[in-house]
C-alpha cells in the first residue's frame, strides 16, 4: 500500500489555472444555457463569451502583477508555469479572441453562428491555447495543442460550405500527422533525458554536455516539424492558403494571430535553450527556414489574384519574419517578437475583417474566387471610407512608417542587426520591399482603376455596427500605434527579461 500523500492545497497554487478555468466555465455555461432554452439569438452567446473572456483577461493581468512582484509561479505539482512568456501570450490570445468574437454579429446569417456549440468550442479552444502556453510539460502542451486544434477544425467546418469542409479535412489530416511528429519527438527527448519537463530536459542535456547529439537532433527535427506546421514554416505551410480561403474571413484573421502566438511560445521554450547552448545545427536550420519562409511566401503572394489568399501568404511571410527572433535569441529579439505580434494582430485582424465585411453569399458569374482584386477596383470612387481603411491596413502591413507594423519591423530588424545577423537584416528589409508590391497592387486597384459595376452592391453587404466598431478599433490600433509602442516595449522587456529569455 502506498503511503497516503498529504499536500497542502496552498502549495498547489490552484489559482494558476484560474484564467483557463474561467474560459472552460464560460463554455460550459453556454452549453447549459442552450440546454435550457433552445434557439436563442447568437448575440446572447457573443456577449456571454465576451464577458467570460473579459474575466479571463482580468485574471491573466492580475497574474501579470503577481509575476512582476515575485517572478514566475509553478502551480499544480509544477505542471503549470506562469512566467512572462505565458502571461504575454495569454494576453494576446484572449485580447485577440475578444476582438474576434464580435465579428460573429454579421448582418447576414451564417450557418456556424446559429450553433451555440460554436461559441462553446471557441471558449474551449481558448482554454486549450492557454494551457498550451502556460505549461512547461510536453504532455500538457500536447494535450492543450490537440484540444485547441480539434476545436479549431470544427469551427472551420461549421461554416458549412464545401470549401470549408475541404479546408477542415486538410487542416485535420496534416494536424494529425504533426501530432504524430510531436509525439515521436517528445519520445526521443524522453528517451535521452528521462523527463518531459523542458527545464529538466535542458538540465539533463547540459549535464551530459550533449554527448548523444544524434538523439537531440532527431528530437529537434521532429519537434521543429510539428511546431513548423503550427507556425506555417515553409515546407509545412501548404495548408495555410487553402485553410484561410476555405474558412470565413474573420476566422482566417483569428487563425493568423492566436494559434501562431501559441506556436511561437512553445518554439521559444523549446528552441531558445538549444540555441543558447550552441547547437550550431539548429541555428543554421532555423536561419535557412526563416529566410526561405519569408522569401518564398512573399514571392508566391506576388502571383495571387485573390486578396484572401494573398493575405494568407502574407501572414506566412510575417510569421517567417518573426521566427527570426527565435533564431537570434537575444532579449531584444524576443521582445521584438511580442511587440511585432501585438501590432500585427491589430493590423491583420483589421485587414481580414475588411474582407469579412465585403463577404458575398453567392459569387457573380465570372468571379474566380471570394475576393478577387477586381472586386476592389475603383473602390475610392464608390466607398472612399472603406478604400481608405483597406489602404491603411495594407500600408501598415507593408511597413510604411507611421502605421503600426513599421515600429514592429524596425525593432525586429534592429534586433537582427544587434544580434549580429547583418545579412539576415538585409534579407528582411528586401523582403518587405517585395511584399510592398502586392500590398501596393491592391491599393492600385482601389485607387487608380475604374469600379466594376456588378461588384458595387456587394460591398459592405455584411457590415453591421459591431463589425464596424471592431474595424474602428483595429484602425485606431494601427494608426496610433506609435504612441503605444514605448509603454508596450517597456512592459514586454520587463516580462521577457524576468522570465529568463
Amino acid at each position: 500500500m502506498l503511503a497516503p500523500i498529504s499536500i497542502s492545497l496552498a502549495s498547489l497554487h490552484v489559482t494558476t489555472m484560474a484564467p483557463m478555468l474561467i474560459a472552460i466555465a464560460g463554455a460550459l455555461a453556454i452549453l447549459c444555457i442552450d440546454l435550457m432554452k433552445e434557439g436563442l439569438h447568437k448575440s446572447l452567446y457573443v456577449m456571454v463569451s465576451l464577458l467570460f473572456l473579459l474575466l479571463d483577461l482580468g485574471a491573466v493581468i492580475d497574474f501579470g502583477n503577481i509575476f512582476l512582484k515575485n517572478g514566475s509561479v509553478l502551480g499544480m505539482f509544477d505542471m503549470m508555469l506562469i512566467d512572462g512568456l505565458s502571461i504575454l501570450s495569454q494576453i494576446i490570445i484572449v485580447a485577440g479572441s475578444m476582438l474576434f468574437i464580435p465579428l460573429a454579429m454579421t448582418s447576414k446569417r451564417f450557418h456556424e453562428y446559429n450553433y451555440p456549440e460554436y461559441f462553446a468550442l471557441f471558449l474551449f479552444m481558448i482554454a486549450g491555447f492557454q494551457f498550451m502556453v502556460a505549461s512547461d510539460n510536453l504532455i500538457l502542451i500536447f494535450v492543450g495543442l490537440e484540444t485547441a486544434s480539434l476545436a479549431l477544425y470544427t469551427l472551420i467546418a461549421l461554416h458549412n460550405r464545401s470549401k470549408s469542409f475541404e479546408a477542415a479535412v486538410k487542416y485535420f489530416t496534416m494536424g494529425a500527422l504533426a501530432a504524430g511528429f510531436f509525439a515521436f519527438g517528445s519520445m526521443i527527448f524522453y528517451a535521452i533525458t528521462g523527463s518531459v519537463e523542458i527545464n529538466q530536459i535542458a538540465l539533463a542535456l547540459a549535464k551530459d554536455e550533449y554527448v548523444n547529439i544524434g538523439f537531440v537532433l532527431i528530437a529537434v527535427v521532429f519537434l521543429l516539424a510539428a511546431i513548423g506546421f503550427k507556425l506555417s514554416m515553409v515546407p509545412f505551410h501548404t495548408w495555410t492558403p487553402d485553410v484561410y480561403e476555405g474558412s470565413s474571413a474573420a476566422l482566417a484573421g483569428y487563425m493568423s494571430i492566436v494559434p501562431k502566438v501559441a506556436g511561437f511560445v512553445i518554439a521559444m521554450r523549446l528552441f531558445e535553450f538549444l540555441v543558447h547552448s550552441g547547437v550550431v545545427w539548429l541555428q543554421v536550420v532555423l536561419y535557412v527556414a526563416v529566410v526561405v519562409t519569408m522569401t518564398a511566401s512573399n514571392i508566391w503572394a506576388l502571383v495571387q489574384n485573390d486578396v484572401k489568399r494573398m493575405l494568407a501568404y502574407s501572414s506566412i511571410s510575417h510569421a517567417g519574419f518573426v521566427m527570426a527572433a527565435i533564431l537570434i535569441g537575444t532579449t531584444q529579439a524576443n521582445t521584438a517578437l511580442f511587440l511585432y505580434w501585438a501590432l500585427f494582430s491589430f493590423t491583420n485582424l483589421g485587414a481580414f475583417s475588411m474582407l469579412w465585411v465585403s463577404r458575398q453569399k453567392n459569387l457573380i458569374p465570372g468571379q474566380s474566387s471570394d475576393h478577387p482584386y477586381e472586386k476592389f477596383a475603383g473602390l475610392v470612387k464608390t466607398m472612399p471610407m472603406a478604400a481608405v481603411m483597406i489602404a491603411l491596413f495594407m500600408l501598415s502591413l507593408a511597413g510604411i512608417p507611421p502605421f503600426g507594423l513599421f515600429w514592429g519591423k524596425i525593432y525586429m530588424i534592429g534586433s537582427a542587426v544587434s544580434g549580429g545577423y547583418t545579412v539576415l537584416a538585409l534579407i528582411m528589409a528586401l523582403n518587405s520591399a517585395i511584399a510592398a508590391y502586392y500590398y501596393l497592387k491592391l491599393i492600385v486597384f482601389m485607387f487608380m482603376k475604374e469600379p466594376i459595376a456588378e461588384y458595387q452592391k456587394y460591398y459592405l453587404m455584411n457590415a453591421s455596427l459591431s463589425l464596424k466598431t471592431i474595424i474602428g478599433i483595429a484602425a485606431i490600433g494601427t494608426i496610433f500605434a506609435v504612441f503605444a509602442v514605448n509603454p508596450l516595449l517597456k512592459v514586454i522587456t520587463l516580462f521577457v527579461y524576468n522570465s529568463g529569455y
Binding site: F110, A157, N160, V211
Partner: protein
C-alpha cells in the same frame, strides 16, 4: 530467453499486420489487420509491465476506436475494394524507408547518459495500476482534466458535425430563403404544440 522470443514474435506480428493495413486495397482486411495489430501492442504493454496501459489499449483502442471505424466503414460503404489512383507509389515507399533508415541509424547508438534517477520510480511492490493512479491524480491531474475537456470537445464536434442541422447550409442560402425557412419551422412547432 523467453522474453526475447516473445519480443521478436510480437514485433514481427505487429509489423506484418500494420504493413497489411497500409498496403491492402481491401478496406475490410485493413481494419481487421489493424485491430489485430492493436491487440499485439497491448501484449507488448503487458510484457513491459504496464498492465493498466495494456488494458486501456484493448478497451479504448481496439474496443472503441476500431468500433467507430467499423461504423464509419459501413457508413461509407467501402466494403468493396477501394480503387485508388496511385501517383508515383514507389517514391512514397522509398521516402518512408529512407526516413526509417535515417532515424534507425541514430537510434541504434546506445544512449550514454549519467542522470538515471527516475522522477517517479517504479517499485514492483506496488501494483502498476495503483502506482499509475497515484501519479496520474497528483502530478498529471491537470492534463487528465484537460483530456476530459478534449474528449468533451471531440464529442460536441462529432455530434454537431454529423448532425442533421448541417444539411441545409445557412451560409449558402440567401437571406429571404432563411427567413422563409424560419417562418415555416415556427409554424411547425406551433402545430406540434397545438396537437
Amino acid at each position: 530467453m523467453f522474453e526475447a522470443i516473445a519480443f521478436y514474435l510480437f514485433a514481427t506480428l505487429i509489423t506484418v499486420m500494420f504493413t497489411i493495413t497500409v498496403m491492402t486495397s481491401q478496406a475490410l482486411y485493413a481494419l481487421t489487420a489493424m485491430a489485430a495489430g492493436m491487440i499485439f501492442i497491448s501484449a507488448f504493454f503487458f510484457i513491459l509491465g504496464a498492465d493498466f496501459l495494456g488494458a486501456i489499449q484493448i478497451i479504448v483502442y481496439t474496443g472503441a476506436v476500431m468500433a467507430i471505424y467499423a461504423f464509419g466503414m459501413m457508413f461509407f460503404d467501402t466494403t468493396r475494394n477501394v480503387i485508388e489512383k496511385r501517383s508515383n507509389p514507389r517514391f512514397v515507399i522509398v521516402l518512408g524507408a529512407f526516413a526509417a533508415v535515417l532515424v534507425v541509424f541514430i537510434v541504434l547508438a546506445p544512449i550514454v547518459t549519467t542522470n538515471l534517477e527516475a522522477h517517479y520510480p517504479i517499485d514492483l511492490a506496488v501494483g502498476n495500476t495503483q502506482a499509475i493512479g497515484m501519479v496520474l491524480f497528483t502530478k498529471y491531474l491537470v492534463p487528465f482534466e484537460l483530456a476530459a475537456i478534449m474528449l468533451l470537445v471531440a464529442m460536441i464536434a462529432g455530434i454537431v458535425l454529423a448532425g442533421k442541422k448541417m444539411d441545409k447550409s445557412l451560409t449558402l442560402m440567401a437571406e429571404e430563403e432563411i427567413a422563409l425557412m424560419h417562418a415555416s419551422s415556427v409554424s411547425e412547432t406551433l402545430e406540434e404544440g397545438a396537437h
